[in-house]
């Protein structure tokens, strides 16, 4: 049987506010356990929550970025359940009246087409603490540093039909929230976590099948793997005549396997009700407009601008615009280096490869747009060959030098483009290569191209690597043909 895959996502986005959503404690990651938990975060008796305005501003900005209706009135509710890392015994969240209403995001697929994914709503809530089950000799440790960190939970409609679409949406959302500056986007620290709802239905059927929810996926790769894994699991069950149980599952990315966490029957009755400690938050048009005014450029707009302003192709523009820090680096490089296309090539090529191999973020790169721009400038004016440019980049990256021109001088990388001098070298080298010249002249077009390399090596050697390869090729061709 042919199956339709139906996927909906719930995404927890950790907001990059300095303090928690209902207390003044810091949200910085990585502090000693329980050092960033105040009396409010510990749910000491009598303590009360006070909302963090920044979290509202961030949520409104997100809502505007996904073309959503902003909840003019939003209400916090209590979601009741017991767990040791949930200090109050309830999570303060939004249910009936969330801050962000229905919206949508357009994603681009590999075949160049685009697809609209609807957002059901997004709400503000507080994160729980962490339970640590290792290192405590059969007991559990509780770290409440994370308790009260503001989150936006984004809930999509079940609009995605493949892992590819789900990942494209997740990446788009990542790009959005980091461009807005409301989330640091650091998935390894849990700044974005995905829950995936998956169901299958026979092709052509309208009604949805029974879904499962796979929780807490914290990388795009795990998410993709988990979807493939769950689709296969459900397909196996359905094709052997079984039925899917509505349940929550946990996926282990290292082993590529999943297990049931709880079934629908075991699900908690959360007994939601409006939190009486927090008044409904009413936002007026002026407030929403003031947030709109302060919104930074969004990736889609930036992409269009990169194409128009710098003449980039769609692919490069798309890659460079998705990440704000990469986009900023590109613009700085292009402005210092004058040649935007060359700047794009270097950032997407050498620079990105180096970042990836060292698992660094753009902000952590040891080279700036000013450096890269100076490099691009020297490539464009033929001072540097591509191999010379790589040497300069290496020196910049490793901190051996900070001025491109000084590195060129120090390493003697200045390209020789004086045609008289180059012709002399060509003549000298060809004088000792009679056999190869004869071979070249007898060869057909295709073979000649291959044979060129045999001349270029000795030429570069004779010029100590400083001859302009482009000019060498021109002169060589002329001499060989002649």
């Amino acid at each position: 049987m042919q199956w339709d895959i139906v996927i909906g996502l719930e995404i927890h986005v950790q907001l990059a506010t300095k303090s928690k959503i209902f207390s003044g404690s810091s949200t910085a990651f990585g502090a000693e356990p329980n050092t960033q938990a105040s009396a409010v975060d510990l749910a000491m008796p009598g303590t009360l929550p006070v909302p963090n305005e920044q979290a509202f501003r961030d949520a409104v900005m997100f809502g505007l970025a996904v073309n959503a209706e902003i909840g003019r009135r939003s209400v916090f509710e209590r979601k009741n359940y017991f767990y040791p890392d949930l200090p109050k015994g309830y999570q303060t969240t939004q249910l009936a009246e969330p801050i962000v209403g229905p919206g949508h995001v357009d994603i681009e697929l590999a075949d160049g087409s685009s697809k609209r994914i609807r957002i059901h709503h997004a709400h503000l809530e507080e994160d729980a603490g962490k339970s640590l089950h290792e290192d405590f000799h059969g007991m559990s440790g509780i770290d409440l540093n994370r308790a009260g960190t503001p989150l936006i939970e984004v809930v999509t409609e079940p609009d995605m039909r493949s892992a590819e679409e789900a990942v494209a949406f997740a990446k788009k959302l990542h790009s959005l929230v980091t461009s807005l500056g409301i989330c640091d986007g650091d998935m390894s620290q849990g700044s974005m976590r995905f829950d995936v709802n998956i169901s299958l239905r026979p092709k052509g059927q309208d009604a949805y099948g029974t879904r499962t929810e796979t929780k807490n996926l914290n990388s795009f790769r795990f998410m993709e793997q988990a979807i493939h894994h769950e689709v296969e699991r459900q397909m196996d069950i359905l094709e052997s005549g079984g039925t899917i149980i509505q349940e929550t599952r946990l996926y282990n990315g290292d082993r590529n396997e999943s297990r049931s966490m709880r079934s629908k029957e075991e699900a908690n009755d959360y007994r939601y009700f409006p939190c009486p400690d927090l008044l409904p938050v009413v936002l007026d048009e002026d407030y929403i407009e003031s947030v709109r005014q302060r919104m930074p450029e969004l990736p889609d707009a930036r992409r269009a601008r990169f194409k128009a302003q710098y003449g980039l192709n769609d692919y490069d523009a798309s890659l460079l615009s998705a990440d704000t820090s990469l986009a900023n680096l590109f613009e700085s490089t292009a402005s210092h280096g004058k040649d935007a296309k060359l700047a794009a090539n270097w950032i997407l090529g050498e620079f990105s490869a180096r970042l990836n191999s060292e698992e660094k973020k753009v902000a952590e790169a040891p080279v700036s747009g000013e450096h890269l721009g100076a490099l691009v400038l020297r490539i464009a004016d033929n001072t540097l060959s591509s191999s010379g440019a790589k040497k300069v980049f290496e020196a910049l990256w490793s901190g051996e030098g900070h001025s491109v021109d000084a590195i060129i001088d120090a390493q003697g990388l200045k390209q020789v483009s004086d045609t008289g001098a180059l012709e002399q070298i060509v003549d000298d080298v060809l004088a000792g290569m009679a056999d190869q010249i004869a071979q070249y002249r007898e060869a057909d077009e295709k073979k000649r191209k291959k044979l060129m390399g045999g001349f270029m090596g000795p030429l570069m050697k004779a010029s100590k690597g400083q001859g302009n390869p482009k000019l060498f090729t021109e002169i060589l061709q002329r001499k060989l043909e002649g």
């Binding site: 510990l42 009598g46 009741n80 200090p87 009486p276």
Partner: protein, 481 residues
């Protein structure tokens, strides 16, 4: 000395007739000698009190004293006190020492008042007789086997027995007014949001309100001057200027319009009680007020709505008492579920458990609409009743409680009988209005309280009306000791 009011003691201190240390010693001695009869205190803080009194005397010597400098008083044991255990009348918090002050606690400290100790109360403020306290029942100074009312029974008994001139209290469904009535003192529950709830251990957040207990209306006004005000730490507190509540105490009541809700003066009201209340209303007429009958048509729904909303909120508010971070924890839990269930089974008393169960039920899937949502609708109707009434009258008067202090054990077997104790007080909390109970006579030698309800933020008018009444009556001066 202990028969004096706060304002009299303040005058004595100002005139140098007595020092704060002397006053503090005197009241501490009294508590040590007398309180075994009443059990009105859970914790005494002698050392801290004497140190504070000394500091107050030094402040006065430097000429920096304010009206509360050096005045002894007590806090209901629901207000968190930094470094002093705060139990909320529960085994769950028997050894809980908060590392922070409630805003109300801070306010009194800043005013220079001297806290002598923490008063007994129904467990987590759930009760109308102070019999649900883990630390034992409180005895009403007016009758050895009589309850003081609740939940602020310890504060009321301590003030009535002249163990302190004033005490803080809280009122969720009548917990200031009913014990004030039963103990023959004056109590005020302010408008919801007037006094910060920060550090005041929550029972039902949308109904809880801190307030005052003393023997006179004037002393209540002095207390409210310290307690009232916006608190950025409490999102439900209201940012609105605080008047000097003593400034308008002496305004004449000529032309004051008083409404008597016919629902609160039904045939079921004890005729002896009714007679006392009517006599009090007569006094107001003599003072120049006009009286008319009014109607609060949904008043009969108040108890039912309250006993859905308050337990629902309590069921969530009390979830934090789980044995994980502070408070009582059961011995040798074998796993997490055992830790939760035994900690809560052993740490909470019967009435608290009853309300957690009721509240959880009312919020559970399939029942929410029928109970919680319906109760909220009723709440709005009740609120509207009052809004309509205050278009015609300035104050509403009624008995505070259906009967005077009852005998201990009389109502503990049937929770609903106990809940009906608050039949006249609960609607006020649902509407968020300010109200007082003022001593208005005796039935069978037991005090009767007159409830006076005001419009939102009409505390000054309430205190004015109560003070004027106390200028022409002496019920508030009668002493059980």
């Amino acid at each position: 000395m202990h028969d004096k009011t706060v304002s009299e003691l303040a005058r004595d201190l100002a005139e140098g007739k007595v020092s704060s240390v002397e006053l503090t010693r005197h009241f501490l001695n009294r508590i040590q000698q007398e309180d075994s009869r009443y059990n009105s205190f859970i914790t005494l803080c002698e050392e801290q009190a004497l140190a504070d009194a000394e500091a107050a005397d030094q402040l006065r010597a430097r000429g920096e004293a304010t009206p509360w400098t050096g005045i002894p008083f007590a806090h209901k044991d629901i207000f968190c006190t930094d470094g002093i255990r705060t139990t909320c009348g529960s085994r769950m918090l028997e050894n809980f020492v908060p590392p922070y002050n409630a805003t109300v606690t801070d306010n009194f400290r800043q005013a220079g008042a001297v806290c002598l100790g923490k008063t007994n109360m129904d467990e987590f403020a759930m009760g109308s007789s102070n019999e649900s306290s883990y630390f034992g029942a409180v005895t009403n100074p007016w009758g050895e086997n009589r309850v003081p009312g609740g939940s602020s029974g310890g504060s009321a008994a301590a003030v009535a027995a002249r163990l302190v001139p004033a005490a803080t209290a809280t009122d969720t469904g009548g917990s200031i007014r009913q014990p004030a009535a039963l103990c023959g003192i004056t109590g005020l529950k302010p408008t919801y949001g007037r006094v910060s709830r920060y550090g005041m251990i929550a029972f039902a957040s949308s109904l809880d309100q801190g307030g005052t207990m003393a023997r006179t209306a004037e002393d209540n006004a002095l207390m409210l001057n310290v307690m009232a005000g916006f608190d950025p730490k409490d999102s439900t507190s209201i940012d609105r200027p605080v008047p000097d509540y003593t400034a308008s105490l002496n305004q004449p009541l000529q032309g004051l319009r008083i409404g008597l809700p016919k629902e609160y003066f039904s045939d079921q009201l004890d005729p002896a009680m009714a007679a006392q209340i009517q006599a009090a209303v007569k006094e107001y007429e003599k003072l120049g007020a006009t009286v008319k009958d009014i109607s609060l048509p949904n008043a009969n729904l108040a108890i039912a709505a309250y006993y859905v909303i308050a337990p629902a909120e309590a069921s969530a508010n009390l979830s934090r008492f789980d044995g994980v971070r502070y408070g009582y924890r059961c011995d040798n839990p074998k796993d997490l579920m055992d830790l939760y269930t035994r900690t809560r089974a052993e740490g909470f008393g019967a009435e608290v458990k009853r309300r957690i169960l009721v509240g959880s039920y009312a919020l559970s899937a399939g029942y929410y609409d029928a109970y919680y949502r319906k109760a909220q609708q009723v709440r709005r109707l009740i609120q509207q009743d009052f809004i309509n009434a205050f278009k015609e009258v300035d104050l509403i008067m009624s008995p505070t409680s259906p009967s005077p202090a009852f005998v201990r054990g009389e109502k503990t077997t049937d929770p609903v009988t106990m809940y009906l104790e608050d039949i006249f007080t609960i609607a006020v909390n649902l509407a968020g209005l300010p109200a007082m109970s003022v001593p208005a006579g005796f039935v069978n030698g037991l005090p009767v309280g007159l409830q006076i309800i005001g419009d939102y933020f009409a505390e000054a008018r309430l205190l004015n009306a109560a003070h004027q009444f106390q200028q022409v009556t002496d019920w508030h001066l009668r002493s059980p000791v």
